[in-house]
Each structure stands twice: as C-alpha cells, then as structure tokens.
Symmetry: C2
Subunit: 356 residues, 2 copies
Amino acid sequence: MNAAAAAPAALLDPDGVRASVDAVLYAFLDEQERAATDLPEIGLFTKMLRTMLAAGGKRIRPFLCVTGWAAITDRTPPPAVWRVAASLELFHAFALIHDDIMDKSDTRRGRPTAHRALAARHAHHPDADTLGVNTAILLGDLALGWSYELLHADDRRIHRTWKLLNALRTETLIGQYLDLAATGDLTAGTDTAWRIIRYKTGKYTIERPLHLGAAPADADPAQLRSLSAYAIPLGEAFQLRDDLLGVYGDPARTGKSTLDDLREGKHTVLVATALERATPAQRRTLHSALGDPSLDPTAAEAVRGIFSATGAAAAVEQMITDRLHAAERALDGSTLREPATTALNRLAAAMAHRAS
Amino acid sequence: MNAAAAAPAALLDPDGVRASVDAVLYAFLDEQERAATDLPEIGLFTKMLRTMLAAGGKRIRPFLCVTGWAAITDRTPPPAVWRVAASLELFHAFALIHDDIMDKSDTRRGRPTAHRALAARHAHHPDADTLGVNTAILLGDLALGWSYELLHADDRRIHRTWKLLNALRTETLIGQYLDLAATGDLTAGTDTAWRIIRYKTGKYTIERPLHLGAAPADADPAQLRSLSAYAIPLGEAFQLRDDLLGVYGDPARTGKSTLDDLREGKHTVLVATALERATPAQRRTLHSALGDPSLDPTAAEAVRGIFSATGAAAAVEQMITDRLHAAERALDGSTLREPATTALNRLAAAMAHRAS
C-alpha cells in the first residue's frame, strides 16, 4: 500500500489512487485463491473479477473516499481507509454484474458482460445461457461477500470467526456452481458428486456451523478435527438420504414430486453409481430418461428398476449406514463434552434416517 | 436475547435455540427498517424475509453453532455467538432465494418461492415474471449483506464506517429495485425519477464514498453536511447528463446506441418532463414509442423532436447548470480543506459536462 505514505498532493492523483486501490484488490484476490486451495474453481471467479477490474472503470468511489479524507485533514490516511476504498470498488463490481443480469445487457465498456462471458466459457453445456446467468449471480454474490471480508481482515477480536465465515460463504457459493455445472452433465463422475456434497452439505450445513461455535469457545485443534470428522460423513449421509427421498420418497411427506430430480438430471451419487454398474442397455435407458423434462411416471419406474437391478439403491443405503457410524465414532473418540455429544448423536440418527 | 442466560441443558433445546435466534433476527430486521426511514420500500424486502423465516426451517445451522460452543465449555455463550448463529440463518435465507432462482423452482416448503411470490406482488407489471426474479436477486443480495452487518453491529472501532457502508448497500440495492419497477411504467412521475437518481447516483456514487473517507478522519457534522450538499446535486447533474447522452450522445464516444434507453422505456427526468409538458397528440406518440423494443431511428427522431418542442431537453440542460452551481456553492461555504475542494470542483465540472 504505497500510497498510504504519499504526500497529500499525490494522494489526490486519480492514477495514483487507482494504482493503490488495485494493489489492495489484487492482493486480496491472491489471498482468496491461496485460502481456497482445495477449490480450484475459485480461479474462474477471481479471473473474471481481475478481467473486469483491468478492463477499466474510473475508480471514482475509491477516489472520492480518499478525497473525503483529504478534505478534512492533512494526515496520511491509514490502511483502513485504503481497504474501505477497495471495498467500494469490489462492491461496485458486484453491482455491475447483477445489474447486467437484470438488464439483460450483452456488453459493457465494449466487452461481453459477465453473464455473457461466462455463457461463452460454458459453450459445451446444453443450456449455456442459463448457466452463464446463474454463474454470474454467484460471481456477484462472491464479490459482494468479499467487499465485506476485505474490510475486516485486520479485526483481531473476531478473526477466527471471520475467516471461518468467509470460508463458509466461498465454499457454499462455489459448491452451488459445481452443482449447476454438473446438473444435466451425465459425464461428470462420482468424484464430482462427492465434492458437491462435501461443500454444499458437509461443510456448509454441519462442519462450519459447529466450528463457528467452537472456535470462540477456545476449542483446541483436536476438538475442531473431531467436529469435522463428525460433520463430513454426516453431511454425506444427509445428502445421500436426500437423493434417495428424491426418487423413492413419499411426496406427501417430502413435499416434492419423485419426478423432479430425474427430470432435472440431478447429478447424484445414486445416479453416478447406477451408471457405473449399468449394462450398455441400462445405460442407454438412463441417458435418455435422466434430464428429460417430460419424463413420465412409467419412465421413472424404469429408472427406479435400474437403480434396484444394478444394486445402486442398496449400495447408497449401505453408504448412509457406514457414514452414520463414522460420525458416531468421531464423537466417541473425542474430548467433546456432554450433553452436547448426546445431542449430536441424536441429530445424526435423525438426519440419516429421516423420511421427509 | 433471553437464551444468553439459559442453563446448558435448555441451551441445547432446538425450540429454545430457534426462539432466541429468531428474536435476534426479528430485532435486526426492525432495526434495518428504522434505519431506512426514507426508503419505505424496504418493507417489501423485510416482510418477505419475515415470511420466509416464519414459514419454517429447522434453524439447524444456528443450533449446531450453539451446540459447538456447548461441546467445548460450560460457560454461557456470549451475545456474539447468538449473532453468529443468526447470521448463519440469514445467510441461508440468501442462499435459498438465489438457489430457487437458479433452479427455476416455483415452490419451497409448499409455498411460492421468493421470486414467484414477488412476481405475484407485481402482477400489474408488463413483465411480472422477470421483475419477480430480479427483485428476488436483490432480496438475496440484501440478506447476504445483512448477514455480515448482523455480525458487526457491536464493533465500536469501525462503527461509523460500518453503518455508512450498510446504508450504502441498502440504498443501492433498493435504488436498483425502484429503477426496475419504474422502467416501462410511464405512469411513474418525476418524483420517482428523482428518487432513483438520489439513491443510485447521488448517494451511492458520491455522498457515501465521501462520507466513508471523512468519518474516520473525524469530520464534524457540518463538514459531513457540506459534503452531502455537494454530492446530491452533483449526482443529479451527472445522471441528467447521462439521460441526455443516452438520447442525444455520440455513440462513438458514449459506446452505446441512442436507441437503447428509448426502446427500454427508461424512466428519466427528461421523459417525465416531456410527458408533463406534451400536448395530447405528443403524449400519444411518446406512449407508443417509449418502451417499444423495435423502435426505429425515424421514430427515435420523432421522440427527440418532442423532447425539443416541449422544451424538455432545454429544461434538463438548465437543471444540470443549476445543480453544478449548487455543488460549487456547497464547497465555497464550507470548512472543507484545500487541495481537496479544488479537486472536487474540477470533478464536478467534468461530471456535469462530460460527453462520454
């Protein structure tokens, strides 16, 4: 942050403000990439933001922010003011991305808007336009979240909580992206299905919330690991049950039709397992049925027949049982305290065996 | 926050957690409504969130957060843990709203999803479905932003900055909503056009950034008022120039066609002024041309003719001059310092007279 030490006159040079603010933004994006080592897809999002920042824009809000400081005092602005300035620019990137979606704009500053650029990147996808818009909604959401994160990186009091929350947001939004990109794409394997479960359910719904309570209570690293060892398999069990209920559940109890997931071509472990075990004829049936928006109850019954005949449905039931036991063992072998562990065991059983 | 004083056993009662977390959330939504007294439209958004929260949901993330605390210690969780728990629930509301848009889901828990409910509320609008989706994107954005705000309401060190930033986000997103709702609705008067300018340009682009720099520099209230008195008219001048450029500008310099705003039926002060001054025949021409997606250059020329004949274009030029002078007077009569005031005067002239 060179400009933090600049003289007042240089401080009000628009090019200097731009350079200083961009340095903060690029360093922040680097940091987000480093923090999300197991989510390489983050690169798609950070690259889009870098491209947008490099494409232009006057940095008028950061300039005014620094000028507002200089209008009051000769003192050198502290780093916090530069971070606020950079945060404004990131918030503005978010606003442009979502505005262009709402306005259905194809170009901005002579270049494709984010949702159009993202549609072009997914040209192989059967509905690239929709995927482009949806990915751009997520890109905007990330930029919005980061505009807050940028402001609070220095706040020690809630530092541990804040980092966890940021991880939660990143994982959730990118998990949603993985899900969008995989839905309708039957070539994605079980690895992708497991990663989606890990980020959208295991971490978002279970592990991160537990850590967010445990960290401010001064949990030691082993305790945090025990909570993770409970959370991740339970998240998998929860989602595997969800996938079974989506195909075999009682609509009166689940509140959703047993045709929706099949029509949508939802990429589940159940589907991936069945495809792996299917005969060529069964595979052809699955490929023509899954993702067919007009799939009828007879075709759905044929798909269920293949899920049973291949043993995929029974395999998924066994996976749920294994994961429930793994979650229980994680608590047994831990220094976590009663009555919380009893509450967590009860919750695990309810999540794995629910009928709705 | 009654549960903050609850005994450990009661702490792990899901209904108790739900009641405590909901109390934090409802109080927070009340607070947002009170803080946005001049934006009554916020009620549409807070009401949607209250309805979603009341409709159900297991509050599993807040429950796990509190349980994570109890797994480590017998101590009573501090209010910060309850705020984190509530923040998780608000973040989840955001995620559901945006997910339902991306998945094109019509119902959730047996009720219309946010974008469907919002489309139904705007049934009078020519494109209610799109408006419903776009408003739901904004609703999700607000919930996302508030999930951060909720966490930091008690942080005194950056309290002034944080409140300003929250105001900026709220005003920007609701300004965008006003714009979406007014576009294509020629019955909206000049009052609406001025409010859109105030929130989308005057405050977002100029006033809030200036205040965000000035507040941490210990600006006194008179200095903040001087910055506002500069910002609001300048924002108006900037937007009025934008509206003129959208109809009369040189596409080679502005980078956009002079047909787009007319085809979109963009609700500008120029349009509203022309409609107010038009003869019945002119008004009929404007009503048939504005918002017509196939408007051709000949019809656009007829519209420009009416903007001139009614004196609307000249009136808007005069409004720009008046507002530039008002911005300059605000700096002259202030205790704001050089060289910032010179930089601000230069910027004002450039914004009001720009050709691109």
